[in-house]
Structure formats: C-alpha cells, structure tokens
C-alpha cells in the first residue's frame, strides 16, 4: 500500500513541475514573430486569449515591405503558418487561432546584415 503511494510522485526524472508563466509565453510569441518577419520586438504586441480551452493569439505589428514581394495577405499567411508551427512546438501549447493585425508599414532597412 505504501509503495504504490510513493511510486507515482517520482514519475520521470524527479519530482517537480515545470511551469510556463504567461509572461514567458508572451516573450516567446514576440521572438517567434520577430524571427518570422524581421520586425523588432518593441514594434510587436501580442495578446493571448482562451477559446474554449484552446489558445488564441493576436499579433499586432507593422507589415514589413521589402524586395521579396508578396501581397500583405500573403505576408500574413506566412507569419501565421510560421507562428503556429514554431510557437506550438516550442511552448507545447496548441494554438487554435492566430489573429494578425497590421497596424502600420515598416520599410526593411536596406543594406542590413541578416
């Protein structure tokens, strides 16, 4: 009786729990969006909401115009796809919805090193 009680709390490498706070998720979302678009994180805003137990992310950022072409909608799609994939796999949370709001235009700086 005692052995069954003790066993379960030591599943895995050891007792303890890894918690990811909301703040960390927000910073992670900012970083993923920055990597996907090249926009600095201080120009991006992220908001999370719960949608029936799933995660809904809203990204507000200026759209970056560079020489790669592509319509704004395509850029949005690209960001959404990348975000779903990268953020989902890094945070372990399945993102149900990604809303993207472009609230400005940002010119890619010419001659930057990337």
């Amino acid at each position: 009786m005692t052995s069954t009680g003790a066993e379960d709390h030591t599943q895995g490498p050891g007792p303890g729990q890894t918690r990811i706070e909301r703040r960390a998720l927000e910073r992670l979302a900012l970083a993923v969006a920055r990597d996907a678009t090249g926009t600095p994180t201080n120009a991006i805003a992220v908001a999370f909401a719960d949608e029936q137990g799933a995660l809904r992310a809203t990204l507000t950022l200026p759209v970056t115009i560079d020489r790669s072409g592509g319509t704004l909608a395509e850029r949005g799609e690209h960001l959404r796809t990348t975000f779903l994939e990268r953020f989902g796999s890094l945070s372990g949370r399945s993102v149900h919805t990604v809303d993207i709001r472009f609230d400005g235009i940002r010119r890619a700086q010419t001659g930057r090193v990337q």
């Binding site: 009786m1 069954t4 009680g5 379960d8 709390h9 599943q11 729990q17 918690r19 990811i20 706070e21 909301r22 998720l25 999370f48 909401a49 719960d50 949608e51 029936q52 137990g53 799933a54 995660l55 809904r56 945070s91 372990g92 949370r93 399945s94 993102v95 149900h96």
Partner: protein
C-alpha cells in the same frame, strides 16, 4: 474476528457521526424536571384548594405582566428549540470524515485529506498546477474540477484514473467525477 469487525463498525460509526448524547441528556433532564413539577403541582392542587386558587392567580398574573409580545416570543423560541431537537433526532449527523478498515486497522480520514490527495494526483496527471484543481468529497463520490491550461488538452481518462487510484490508496473506493472547465487559463 467477527467480534472485532463489530467493534470496528461501532467505533467507525461513532467517529463519522456527531454524537447526540449531550442534547439527549439535556432534553431528558429538562423533561424530567418539567414533568416532576407538573406532577407535584397537580397533586398539590388536587388536594389543596387554596393552593389551586393562588396558582391560577399567579399564572394569569405572569401572563399579564409579560404581555402578548413576550409570550409570543417565548413560544417562538420554544418552537425553534423543538424543531432543532426533532432535526437532531432525524438527521444522520454525518461528520466530514470517511472510515475504512485496512487489515487490522480501522482508518478514519478527514474528507479534506481525501480531497487533497485526489486533487494532488489529478493535477499531476493533468499537468496543471495544483491550484488549478479543486476537489470535494461527498458521501460516496469525489468531485474533481480541473481548470486546464489553454492549448493543452487534459486526458480525462488518465486524470480520473489517477484520482481514483489515490482514493484506493487512501482506502476508499469512491468513484471520481471529473469536470474539466470550458475556459482554460493562459499559462
């Protein structure tokens, strides 16, 4: 052996139900005093006519000096006491404890302990912080409520099984009733 199980059953019942002996003793004493007074007064009044007259006068005087509102108040009070006694007699008076026999030991466990154990294991199985799980123990059922983390699905079967396993370890085979909240918290 059957002797000890009988003893266990009595002890367990005593530990899981609140005693009525104090109220029973008080009620009996009050009843005895009132009946004794009635008996003595009745006999005295039957024998002694002068006493009967003074007693009647005194009682009507008491009612007059008290006034209607006081009489009503006392009546209400007595009714409440009567209802209270009736409820004490009828209700089972269960304490928030569960008792079980484990081998040669009779175990009495507070419901709070059972609920805490179930909630702890449920939180572990659901992968949520302990403060996102609450559990309450009813007479023969454990209700576990889990607030999920947004974007992380809760394996309901595993959580229920884990909580039920904990209940089994604690010596109680109460079924677990799991409820996962619709809205999760972002964490």
């Amino acid at each position: 052996m059957s002797d000890s199980t009988q003893v266990y059953r009595r002890v367990m019942r005593r530990e899981t139900h609140s005693p009525r002996s104090v109220s029973a003793v008080i009620a009996a004493i009050v009843l005895v005093l009132v009946l004794l007074a009635a008996l003595v007064g009745g006999i005295w009044a039957a024998v002694d006519g002068a006493f009967r007259a003074t007693a009647l006068k005194a009682s009507s005087q008491v009612f007059e000096t008290l006034g209607n509102s006081w009489v009503v108040a006392i009546a209400v009070l007595l009714t409440v006491v009567a209802l209270w006694l009736i409820l004490l007699a009828i209700l089972p008076g269960r304490k928030r404890r569960h008792a079980t026999v484990a081998g040669r030991v009779a175990l009495v466990i507070d419901d709070g302990v059972l609920a805490d154990g179930a909630a702890y294991r449920a939180a572990h199985a659901a992968g949520v912080p302990r403060d996102q799980v609450s559990a309450t123990v009813a007479r023969n059922r454990v209700d576990v409520r889990v607030t999920p983390i947004s974007g992380v699905s809760v394996n309901q079967g595993a959580v229920t099984r884990a909580a039920a396993e904990e209940m089994r370890i604690l010596g109680s085979n109460m079924p677990v009733n799991l409820h996962v909240e619709d809205r999760g918290v972002i964490a």
